[in-house]
Symmetry: C2
Subunit: 390 residues, 2 copies
């Protein structure tokens, strides 16, 4: 069935991934055949080996490695799991499958029976109990082979959407993202397989909230300002991040991010820009170091003497729109304040303002002030005068 | 801006909604001018006035009404809120806005100052404190005017996606849903404004889980079986439900729903089919009484002597795939068992089987058994032999 109905792009991607997996694991096999103990050398994915690179402006994996050895009792189980998962992925690539990490977990889950020594009694051990175990070895395989899961045709749920002045080729189709009517184009889980065919946009606007994306889309924001409009619908998933990165890197389009004005909103921006702590080994491909935080800023709400900036909200609007920060917001802001990638003066000013005022603001409050205020004043004005943080 | 960039369809929808709102509230005004006390007569949205209609197979609002009177002290606040919200919606329609329920909350939120009697001291009262208050009057306005929020161009976030053998007109564009590449079409929040242009499909398959939707899409399921593939990405939102209903009602396509085999999955199916308890006033337009539950059924997992049905899973697969039900699953199943729309013999058999076995199964487990098993055997076979519950 796959041979007939899968796209050519997928068939090529399969061949490529199969080749790399084959070569990487053949080396392991060769080493064993040469009489060496079975082992894998993999970069450590620990927090201590996650480094913020101020030059590249990315969270990256450091150079520390560890050995996963079959003959080490503590590592034998993990070694087995890694090879089992690699073989399942290899097989699924061969068979034209499109697994998810959840069904890879199911595919590999079974009980191994063995004879205990010296008693020779029958022992039983499950390959893995929880998905966290199988997910962990998938990450190891990504790091070990330098092939991302998407390149191995492993799919996932996908929330990201896009509309705007862009034509893409996906699978066997060419899709005009300016012809989506009132709906939008749901980004595929494998955005590296997208080809950019034609672009007529001047910038990319990423909106954290789907409902606000719908509003700006419907009012024609991207037509008027020749933009590409993207929503991550909350915390961005891998595909949305990779898609945004490619728009920035390959099409040379500036990327502006808009989120709620609170530590969770700021962090969503930083995931786009710098990468996430748990997936630092992928920042180099998923993060967009040039992404600009357009708002909502604390200084948009209250203005700033230091920046000679006037507030966008009146006293009365602030009274009605702002929300008192919760204890966990304060706690989160204090954590953010210490992250190296928030250490710039500009960010410290925003975070300090948050910690002083102890209030937050949703992006919907600006739409509540008038959708035209948001689309025809707030956004274009801030872009024009350069009121963003990078 | 709106006049230039909004679609013709939206402009027409605005005019229509404005006309109805104007007429409905003019009646209220006229009655007041005639010397009657200011009041609104609205159908009750209480649980006791939510009735399951076994003929229509829908959860509907009964005929009981209540009066919201300005001169009743308990109702004066609600009366004011309802008229305030109606005027904000009316104004936003006039101004070419696309509000969300969240920003309608912000738009209306302010403090009213008044003189207390007899002391003549200044009193203050907020129009509303929480969004639950403003949401509640939006529902009242929908029921009172018989105009759904979507018809008033109130937007919302939207999770539903679709691909398949269907061409639609949305806004000013014609979109071929069989030309979405590896991505999908994200359904608009106002699906009543969609026009079906051309259909070449034989059935609709609704997949609860986005990741499984991605898999079936990518393997070409809808091409091979000439289907329209929809995902609700979890609990279905209003737009996805309305879209599915229209596919069934207007295109006469059978609708099959696939979810996890647990009470939450069964309930998701029943929301598609019967409506939800809180939105019963909209069932008549949002629910699809003919929707068929294709699986995953308890009897798919274990077979059934009574139905002379063989299980789809082997003993060994059951051991690896099934998950022990939690206390809250059991509790939920017992509630489901008592809902009138689950009272058929066939559903009682499934629910009893669940309560006896106390286990559940995710749809991903079937994909784990092989995506081709899911797409080329399980789904087509069950459709062919008619193994669904209606």
């Amino acid at each position: 069935m796959t041979a007939v109905y899968s796209s050519k792009v997928d068939l090529q991607a399969r061949e490529k991934a199969l080749k790399i997996l084959y070569e990487k694991f053949r080396e392991v096999l060769k080493s064993i055949m040469d009489g060496n103990p079975p082992k894998l050398v993999i970069k450590k994915r620990t927090l201590s080996n996650t480094v913020y690179d101020p030059e590249k402006k990315l969270l990256l994996l450091g150079d520390a490695t560890f050995e996963r050895s079959f003959l080490d009792l503590r590592e034998a189980r993990k070694f087995m799991q890694t090879l089992l998962m690699a073989s399942i992925i290899y097989e699924s690539l061969t068979n034209g499958e499109y697994p998810t990490i959840r069904d890879l977990y199911y595919r590999g889950k079974h009980t191994i029976r063995y004879r205990k020594l010296p008693s020779k009694a029958i022992g039983e051990e499950n390959t893995w109990e929880e998905q966290s175990e199988s997910d962990s070895v998938i990450r190891d395989i990504e790091v070990f082979t330098n092939v991302l899961r998407e390149e191995m045709l492993i799919l996932s749920k996908e929330k990201g959407k896009v509309v705007g002045e862009l034509k893409i080729r996906s699978g066997d189709d060419v899709i005009d993202l300016s012809k989506m009517g009132h709906g939008a184009y749901a980004i595929e889980p494998t955005p590296d397989l997208i080809e950019f065919v034609d672009v007529n946009a001047e910038f990319v606007l990423v909106i954290e909230k789907d409902a606000v994306f719908q509003q700006l889309h419907r009012i024609g924001f991207w037509k008027k300002y020749r933009a590409i409009l993207v929503t991550s619908a909350g915390q961005p998933d891998r595909a949305t991040r990779r898609f945004v990165r490619r728009l920035n890197e390959e099409l040379k389009l500036p990327v502006y991010v808009i989120s709620d004005s609170d530590p969770y909103g700021y962090y969503i921006y930083s995931v786009f820009k710098t990468g996430s702590i748990t997936l630092s080994y992928e920042s180099e491909r998923l993060a967009t170091p040039q992404a600009r935080f357009l708002g909502v800023m604390m200084t948009d709400i209250f203005g700033s003497d230091k920046l000679r900036k006037k507030p966008y909200l009146t006293e009365e609007e602030r009274k009605n729109f702002i929300i008192k920060a919760k204890e966990r917001d304060i706690k989160r802001a204090k954590e953010l304040r210490e992250y190296p990638w928030f250490k710039s003066d500009r960010w410290q000013l925003e975070i300090d303002e948050f910690l002083t005022r102890k209030v937050k603001l949703e992006i919907e409050a600006l739409a509540g002030k008038g959708l035209k205020f948001l689309s025809d004043r707030y956004i274009p004005e801030k872009i024009e005068v350069g009121d963003w943080i990078v």
